[in-house]
């Protein structure tokens, strides 16, 4: 299992990458900056599992909290509204 690089409260950026294959990082969140809400544990990498490999070492999985207005510039709603998404560590970089 890979070590968790980020702690709750830390600011992270979702990588803006478009690799082919089975990816569990939604397109709309790539490139966005948010804050680690919690570490969910480590899970086999679904991108590897989809290729019939074992997905090991397990990847730390985070719940990352984003302000809606940082995702959608024209967001209609309260400035405090948030979105939380599960992102695997290899999709995150420090921000």
């Amino acid at each position: 299992m890979n070590e968790a690089r980020f702690k709750p409260g830390e600011r992270v950026r979702v990588m803006k990458a478009y690799p082919p294959g089975h990816i569990r990082t939604p397109h709309y969140i790539r490139g966005c900056v948010g804050e680690v809400e919690r570490i969910c544990g480590a899970f086999p990498n679904p991108e590897e599992l989809a290729q019939m490999r074992d997905g090991l070492p397990a990847q730390p999985l985070y719940r990352v909290r984003f302000l809606q207005k940082n995702i959608w510039p024209d967001y209609a709603g309260s400035a405090s509204d948030v979105l939380e998404v599960e992102i695997y560590q290899h999709w995150l970089e420090p921000a």
Binding site: P26, C40, S78, I87
Partner: protein, 201 residues
């Protein structure tokens, strides 16, 4: 639907054919038996939102259970004899300041072990794409208009976690039994597109 009512012949759809072919192959090759397939379908049918409602009602009457539920949803469900296999359950709590709602934009991840089979709208492109983009408009279409001061927290269930919303206990239900409380909790309030109605609502 109308065509079926009139007894008109309808060929199997692509996916129906695919399902039958795959199932027959698995049985033919001895990987599954028909009895196992039937048992699993029956199991799926037995999982209904009443399971989730039991969890919510227990959390409303038992503060310690609620604490454990928010810390580790999977373990807390086991206490009630509800098996939540091979994945992690996160309960997210509504408060006067925060309203939670659940969506899966990538496919249709859903806490089936607590809520059963997802409604069609949950799997629709419309709900999945708009719930993360304009949640207030979507909730309003469900009849839920929340004031600006309430933070909307949308959870996109993209990976290994499954979510259930723990709604707020309605006013006027003091002293109610767990069973009576559970009857107030419907599926939509555990997805977060509705809130339970109490006797004074």
């Amino acid at each position: 639907m109308k065509d079926q009512d009139q007894g008109k012949y309808r060929p199997l759809s692509y996916f129906q054919l695919m399902e039958i072919s795959l199932r027959e192959l698995l049985v033919e090759k001895g990987i599954l038996t028909n009895a196992q397939v039937d048992a699993e379908v029956e199991n799926m049918r037995l999982r209904t939102p009443e399971r989730g409602a039991r969890v919510v009602a227990r959390a409303w009457v038992d503060a310690d259970f609620k604490k454990r539920l928010l810390e580790n949803g999977t373990k807390a469900c086991e206490e009630l004899g509800l098996d939540v296999p091979a994945l992690k359950l996160l309960a997210v709590e509504n408060t006067p300041q925060v309203h939670n709602a659940i969506v899966c934009t990538l496919c249709s991840c859903y806490p089936r072990m607590l809520l059963g089979i997802p409604p069609d709208w949950y799997k629709s492109r419309n709900y999945r794409s708009r719930m993360v983009r304009e949640p207030r408009a979507v909730l309003a279409e469900f009849g839920l208009n929340l004031p600006e001061k309430v933070q909307i927290r949308v959870h996109d269930s993209t990976a290994d976690m499954r979510y259930i919303v723990l709604p707020m206990r309605p006013a006027g239900t003091e002293g109610w039994s767990e069973e009576r409380l559970a009857a107030l909790v419907n599926r939509d309030s555990m997805i977060g597109v509705a809130v339970p109605k109490g006797p004074t609502d």
